[in-house]
Amino acid sequence: MKRSGSVFVVLVVFLSIIGCTSTNKAVNSTSESTPIIDDGITNISYKEIPFSEIKVNMEANKNTTTWDGLIVNAYVRPGSTNMYQNFLQISDKLTEGFTNISTAHDDYGNFKYQKLNADQFKNVLRKIDTNKLYKVYIAVYQGKCYITKVEGILTDAEVEAEKAAKITAENEANKYNPKDFAYFIDDFKPAKY
């Protein structure tokens, strides 16, 4: 009787150990099903580097599964676009040496450019001043770069103000006194000549 009692205790302990192990397994499998990419990109810590060191940093990240964050000073202009990705071109020079970098972190239309969809991305392009040096945030994963943020893009109000200033300057340049003319066409614009 005493022996069968101790066998029972051993059995209970054994079963409870198995139970704990299988519960842990279930928890692990749930966390594994969460895409690592999406988890990582939101928690990247960025470091400021010279533009010329992007390539070195990409190479260093190539065989890892961690996200690195780089900040470079660069001129920005619109890049190419395909069905899944929108690109920005960046360079440390105003007119040359531009590199095409995607703003999506994969090939399936999952845009991570400040969480902008394709239409919003086009709206961002409208605000880029190609003569201005921006702080460009680049996420690097397995040696591939993705632009996640361009700091200092004009606000909607600034874009509108710039547009209004351009129109005012254009109107000013095309101002003329009809009395000074012997003849002029209806939409005469002196600044054109």
Binding site: F181, F184, Y193
Partner: protein, 72 residues
């Protein structure tokens, strides 16, 4: 291809939509097409705003004629 210019010239004559100007040194004279009357007088110095286009023949078209300040 259309190019736009502005030049100081001297008025010679106008006959309907054809108007003739020359340079002040008499080196070049050129007929232009114009869309209205100018009432300019022979020898009057003016600034013309015009374009030249090839489509396929070359056309010289006046878009404005400005009185030259201080001249005439």
């Amino acid at each position: 291809m259309t190019k736009y210019y502005a030049s100081n010239v001297v008025f010679i004559s106008q006959d309907g939509m054809d108007i003739n100007f020359k340079t002040s040194d008499n080196a070049i004279s050129q007929y232009f097409t114009i869309g209205g009357r100018t009432n300019l007088k022979f020898g009057q110095t003016v600034k013309i705003y015009y374009y030249v286009t090839k489509n396929p023949l070359t056309k010289w078209v006046i878009e404005a004629v400005e009185f030259t300040k201080g001249a005439n």
